[in-house]
Amino acid sequence: MGENLKLPYWFFGIALVLGATLLVSDPYVASVVNIVSIAALIAVSLRFVMLIGELNFATAAFVGIGAYTAGSAITILEWPFLVALVLGGIVAALVSIVFGYITLRTKGPYFLLIGFAFTEAVRIVYSKSMVLGGNSGMVGIFPPIAFDPWMPTFVMAVVALMIFGLYLLERSDFGKILTAIRDNEDVARTVGLNILFVKIACFAIASFAAGMAGSLHAVTNNVISPGDFSFLLAAFALAYVKVGGEDNIVGPLVGAVLLVVLGSYALGLGGHEHIFYGAAVILAVLLMPEGITGLLRRGRDRLMGKGKRHAA
């Protein structure tokens, strides 16, 4: 009966990456580690809504809302650092509940496109708001000085905690309802489940994660501007999910690490970021629709000589 949560792997993995971040001293490596962590959290947030079968392009908007909330709380209100950080997630989640209540009645292309429009509309609000710094954005969003040497470890710890939490939710009975909605919403409704409520909950949880990613982005980048939160942010997150594989929560992690690291290497070579990501997405969907983790799993199954099904 007891579902295999693979907890030892998780604890070992988290301890390993956290330990590794302690060895980081080079500021460039530290910034790449931060970017990878935040990218992974955004990708996992995007995938969490994919569990109900919807592509959530409003993810970019909620990352932005988190970043601007944390930024304002730190620079304007001068609230404590950790409070500001969590506030980013909370505000993103609250906005997403209102937005989701209206838009989650729609599905598929309508939901996708409305999320896309929302992202662009929110961006215009930032760029026209004097308080939020208009087009040039906000500057000087610094963590307390004591945090500075530990930032990569801190960011990684927050991200790991969030991702682990999302993983536990996915594997819980709540997570099974999410998959059921993607598979066959009508059946889920006939056994007394409130589908709209579950969808909003899923959306709000994912948006909390996206908002937290935004908070972390603000405090690690120290500068934010409306241009950081265009729909391209969600497009990149989608690239991580697709290249890594969406079947399993490990997929977006693999995709984020691989693409961000390769991407910053490609940038170093003077390559063009967009061409690199675009080609990666196209090749991934055409040649390996189940992503890298999907390929690995198939390879393993073949090696073990049986077509073992991956029942959840």
């Binding site: 009966m1 819980s172 009975d173 099974k176 309802i177 998959t179 059921a180 993607r182 598979d183 066959n184 009508d186 059946v187 889920a188 409704r189 006939t190 056994v191 007394g192 489940l193 409130n194 589908i195 099904r309 029942a311 959840a312």
Partner: protein
């Protein structure tokens, strides 16, 4: 309608549904009683599916009244009705194909049962009763058609409804599978006191398992009664059985 003092689980009065100019269901009255299997039959286009969708709240009636478990449910949402204890299946693909049989059945328990352990107990018990235990870890969408049909019933029955509404659960099943499913329905009625509404094409099976039958024709109730009464009803023979026998 009188039923020796038994209060109906479900009652429709003058239930009518129009689609544009077309009247799919017109002035339909019938009751479903506690502990019975009621067959709803009729030729294609007789309004069976529409009636089914009306009583489960998926369609709103154009006129008439729907009473479920003594409460007026006219125009109530499918969610409200299902939470009262009326659970339905769908004619096609009434399961979650990418999930395991275990998780499919588990889904039916989530609303009604508190605690992950208790849910798993209920799901295991339901699977056992339907003979699905050997398939628990299989992905539902990959199983043979007959097993998938049982899984659909399993999901619905795991919610332990007071009234289970099945939309053509026997379509495409072989004789053994039909007999097996009918036995399951009788078990559901006899051991759990759950009423069953059975919308079916398979006349032999309906005659065998149902306590009472309602015949729809051109969106109206043509006749209702015990299988023996229906078999003897002239208008039914003319409209439906005769037509069948002629084939």
């Amino acid at each position: 309608m009188q039923h020796e003092g038994k209060e109906a689980l479900l009652r429709t009065e003058g239930l009518t549904r129009r689609f544009g100019g077309l009247v799919a269901v017109s002035d339909v009255d019938f009751d479903i009683l506690p502990g019975e299997i009621l067959g709803l039959i009729g030729p294609n286009g007789a309004g069976k599916s529409t009636t089914f969708n009306l009583i489960s709240g998926f369609y709103k009636p154009s006129a008439g009244k729907l009473t479920v478990f003594g409460e007026n449910c006219t125009g109530k949402s499918p969610l409200t009705i299902s939470r009262m204890g009326l659970v339905r299946t769908f004619q096609h693909g009434s399961l979650m194909p990418s999930m395991s049989v275990r998780d499919n059945i588990l889904l039916g328990t989530i609303h009604g049962v508190r605690g992950a352990g208790k849910r798993r107990e209920r799901a295991a018990e339901t699977a056992e009763m339907l003979g699905l235990t050997p398939y628990l870890s299989e992905e539902a969408g990959t199983l043979p058609h007959g097993i998938q049909r049982l899984v659909s019933i399993g999901i619905a029955f795991a919610a332990r409804p007071r009234l289970l509404c099945l939309d053509e659960p026997l379509t495409g099943l072989n004789q053994t599978e039909v007999a097996n499913t009918l036995a399951v329905l009788e078990k559901i009625r006899d051991e759990h006191g759950c009423s069953v509404l059975l919308v079916e094409h398979n006349m032999k099976a309906v005659m065998k398992v149902c306590d009472r039958i309602v015949v729809l024709h051109h969106g109206q109730v043509l006749a209702s009664g015990t299988p023996a009464e229906i078999r003897a009803d002239k208008s039914v023979i003319e409209a439906y059985l005769g037509h069948r026998h002629a084939n």
